[in-house]
C-alpha cells in the first residue's frame, strides 16, 4: 500500500513539474498515509528500496571542463576537493525517480568571491532522473542509466558591500525561472555493502540548454560526479 502511494505521489510531482497544472487531479488512489515518528516527513524525500524507505545522504561535485576558454579538457581537481556543493543532500530511489534539492545553500568564504563575497548563494533545483537498473536486488553492483533535466528555479544573488557601493543600481534578489536548465546523461552504480547500507556513485555529462546562445561562442563540457550512502530506516 505504501509503495503504491509513494509511486502515485511521484507521478503527481512529475505532472506538477511538466504541466504546471494543478487543476486536474491525478488518478491517485485514496489510500491513507500513516505518519510515524520514524519517518522524516520530507515531502520530496519519499522513496523506497527493498520495500523500506531509504534515506540517502551524499554529495555531488561537478567537473567543469572548458574546451575553448580555460582548462581545455583538463579537470580542475581542486574544484572537486573544495566543492561548495559538498553536503548536498541527495535522495535516491530504486525506480524512476523525481529528486529535489530544496534550498541548496552554497556557502562562500569571504575572500573567494567578489561580488558575492561573504554572502550566501542559494538555489533550488529539481532533478528528474530515470534510472534503468540491471540486476536489481541480485547483484551488489547495479549499473544504470541516468537521464535528467535539471531546471533551475530561482537563485538568490547577493553582492559584496563593495560592489553595492560602487554600483547601487544593481539589484539583489531572486533570479531566474524554472525554464533555465541543464540536461544530463550518465551512468550510475550502486554498491550494497550490507542489507541496510547502500553506496552510490554517479558520473554524468551535462550540457546547458543555453549553450548555443552564448555570445562567447564557446563550447562547455560539464561533467558531474556524485557519491553518497543510504541507510534503510526499517
Amino acid at each position: 500500500m505504501r509503495i503504491f502511494t509513494i509511486k502515485a505521489f511521484i507521478i503527481l510531482l512529475f505532472l506538477s513539474l511538466t504541466t504546471l497544472n494543478a487543476n486536474e487531479p491525478p488518478n491517485a488512489p485514496e489510500e491513507e498515509i500513516e505518519e510515524t515518528n520514524e519517518i522524516p516527513l520530507v515531502v520530496f524525500s519519499a522513496f523506497e528500496l527493498d520495500g523500506a524507505p531509504l534515506i540517502v545522504f551524499g554529495a555531488e561535485s561537478e567537473i567543469f571542463s572548458w574546451l575553448n576558454v580555460i582548462g581545455d579538457i583538463g579537470i580542475p581537481t581542486g574544484y572537486v576537493a573544495n566543492s561548495p556543493w559538498a553536503s548536498r543532500y541527495r535522495l535516491l530511489a530504486g525506480y524512476p525517480l523525481i529528486q529535489m534539492d530544496p534550498w541548496v545553500l552554497r556557502g562562500r568564504s569571504g575572500s573567494s568571491v567578489y561580488g558575492i563575497a561573504s554572502e550566501f548563494w542559494s538555489g533550488t533545483s529539481v532533478h528528474l532522473i530515470q534510472e534503468l537498473y540491471a540486476g536489481y536486488q541480485r547483484e551488489r553492483w547495479q549499473a544504470g542509466l541516468t537521464l535528467g533535466f535539471e531546471p533551475h528555479l530561482s537563485t538568490y544573488i547577493s553582492f559584496s558591500d563593495e560592489y553595492k557601493e560602487m554600483n547601487p543600481s544593481v539589484k539583489e534578489g531572486w533570479y531566474g525561472t524554472w525554464i533555465r536548465g541543464l540536461y544530463y546523461a550518465g551512468i550510475i552504480g550502486i554498491v550494497k555493502p550490507t542489507e541496510r547500507l547502500s553506496i552510490f556513485m554517479k558520473f554524468a555529462y551535462t550540457w546547458p540548454i543555453e549553450k548555443s546562445q552564448s555570445p562567447f561562442e564557446r563550447t562547455i563540457l560539464d561533467g558531474r560526479i556524485g557519491f553518497g550512502a543510504g541507510y534503510k530506516i526499517w
Partner: protein, 336 residues
C-alpha cells in the same frame, strides 16, 4: 496520526505549484540587474558613436586647448579607476575617457568585431574627433591599454607627441608569457567559485557573463600590495567577451587551454616613435611591474625624452593608493 491521502496530495500540489510560480525571479540577462546598464540601455550616460559603435565616453575640461586621451586596461575593463587621475593632469588639457567597444558601459558587439585593429580604429576616430587644434596631444594607457597604445603608434606614429604607460603590458611576448605563469591559481577555490556560478546564472547574455567576470578579481592578488586591495578598485562593469576575444589579437592561437601563449612584438615600431615617453609602474605589481616596464622602456630607443618611474608601495593601480608620488610627474608630463 492519519492523514487523508487526498488532502495530502492537494496540499502538496498547491505547495509545489506555488514554488514553481513564485520561482520566476528577475531576469539575469537584463542589463541593470546584476550589472549596470550600458549606453544602449541608459540614454543618460555620456556617449559618442565611433565606427558605428556607441561608446561610453566623457570629457573633462572641454574648453581646454590640449588633449589627453586615457585608454583603460583589461581588455574588457572600464575607465572608472582612471577617473581620479583627471585631477592630476595639467589643467590645460581636454581629457577624454572612454570605455572600449564591448567593455565597461559601452555597446556590446559581436565577437568578430573584437580585434586590435577595431580598437585602434576606435581610438583613431576619437582622436580625430577631439584633437581640434591641440598642439600637445598625450595618450595615457593602463595595463592592456599600453598594448593598445603600442598598436596605435605602430599605425599612427605621429598623432600623439607624448605617451604615458601605466603598469603597461610590455613590448613583446617574452615577458608577457612569464606573467601568465601566475595563473595556475585559477585551479584554486576562487576559480572554482567562479565556475560554480554556471549553474545559477547562464551564459546566454553579456550581462550574465560580465557579472561572472567579477569573480576573477580575487585570483589576481599578485597585482597588488595587499590581498584585499582589489576590492578598492572601482569599476562599473567588465566586458567578459571583449576580454577573451580581444586578447586573442595578441596570442598565437585562440585560447584553448589553461595557459595563454602570447605572440606579439611591438619593439621595432616602438623604436621608431620620436615623441616623449613616460613609463610608470608599482613596485608591488608582480605581473606588469618592473620587468615589464623595463622591457617597454628599452624599446623606445628613438624617443625624444623618456623616463622610467617606480612608484613605491604601489600595485597595478598605484595611483589609487599612492597618488602623491606621481602628482608632479603627471602634471609635468602633461604640461605644455
Amino acid at each position: 496520526m492519519v492523514i487523508k491521502n487526498k488532502n495530502f496530495l492537494l496540499v502538496f500540489a498547491i505547495l509545489f505549484s506555488t514554488i514553481i510560480l513564485s520561482s520566476c525571479g528577475m531576469n539575469p540577462e537584463e542589463s541593470g540587474n546584476l550589472v549596470p546598464k550600458t549606453v544602449m540601455e541608459d540614454a543618460s550616460l555620456p556617449a559618442e558613436t565611433h565606427n558605428g559603435i556607441r561608446l561610453h565616453l566623457e570629457i573633462k575640461n572641454s574648453g581646454s586647448s590640449d588633449l589627453v586621451i586615457f585608454v583603460h586596461g583589461g581588455p574588457g575593463f572600464d575607465y572608472r579607476a582612471l577617473l581620479p587621475m583627471a585631477s592630476i593632469v595639467d589643467g590645460q588639457n581636454k581629457i577624454v575617457f572612454y570605455d572600449q567597444r564591448g567593455s565597461g558601459l559601452s555597446q556590446r558587439v559581436d565577437t568578430g568585431s573584437l580585434s586590435m585593429d577595431a580598437h585602434v580604429a576606435d581610438l583613431k576616430s576619437i582622436f580625430e574627433t577631439h584633437k581640434g587644434s591641440a598642439s600637445n596631444k598625450i595618450l595615457i594607457g593602463h595595463s592592456w591599454g599600453g598594448a593598445l597604445m603600442q598598436a596605435y603608434i605602430k599605425k599612427y606614429p605621429s598623432d600623439f607627441n607624448k605617451l604615458m604607460f601605466l603598469s603597461s603590458m610590455p613590448s613583446d611576448d617574452t615577458v608577457m608569457n612569464k606573467v601568465a605563469d601566475h595563473y595556475p591559481s585559477l585551479y584554486g577555490n576562487d576559480f572554482a567559485s567562479y565556475l560554480a556560478q554556471r549553474n545559477a546564472i547562464g551564459e546566454g547574455s553579456h550581462a550574465e557573463l560580465d557579472f561572472k567576470y567579477i569573480n576573477f578579481q580575487p585570483i589576481q592578488k599578485f597585482y597588488y600590495c595587499n590581498d584585499n586591495d582589489y576590492k578598492k578598485v572601482p569599476f562599473w562593469r567588465f566586458g567578459y567577451v571583449a576580454l577573451f576575444k580581444t586578447l586573442e589579437s595578441l596570442l598565437s592561437a585562440p585560447i584553448s587551454g589553461a595557459t595563454m601563449d602570447y605572440d606579439y612584438n611591438f619593439s621595432s615600431s616602438n623604436a621608431a616613435y620620436s615623441g616623449a615617453v613616460y613609463i610608470l609602474y608599482g613596485t608591488c605589481d608582480e605581473a606588469l611591474g618592473k620587468s615589464a616596464s623595463e622591457n617597454l622602456y628599452n624599446t623606445f630607443t628613438g624617443a625624444s625624452q623618456k623616463q622610467l618611474i617606480a612608484v613605491s608601495n604601489g600595485g597595478h593601480y598605484f595611483w589609487l593608493f599612492n597618488s602623491a608620488d606621481i602628482t608632479s610627474t603627471f602634471s609635468g608630463a602633461t604640461g605644455p
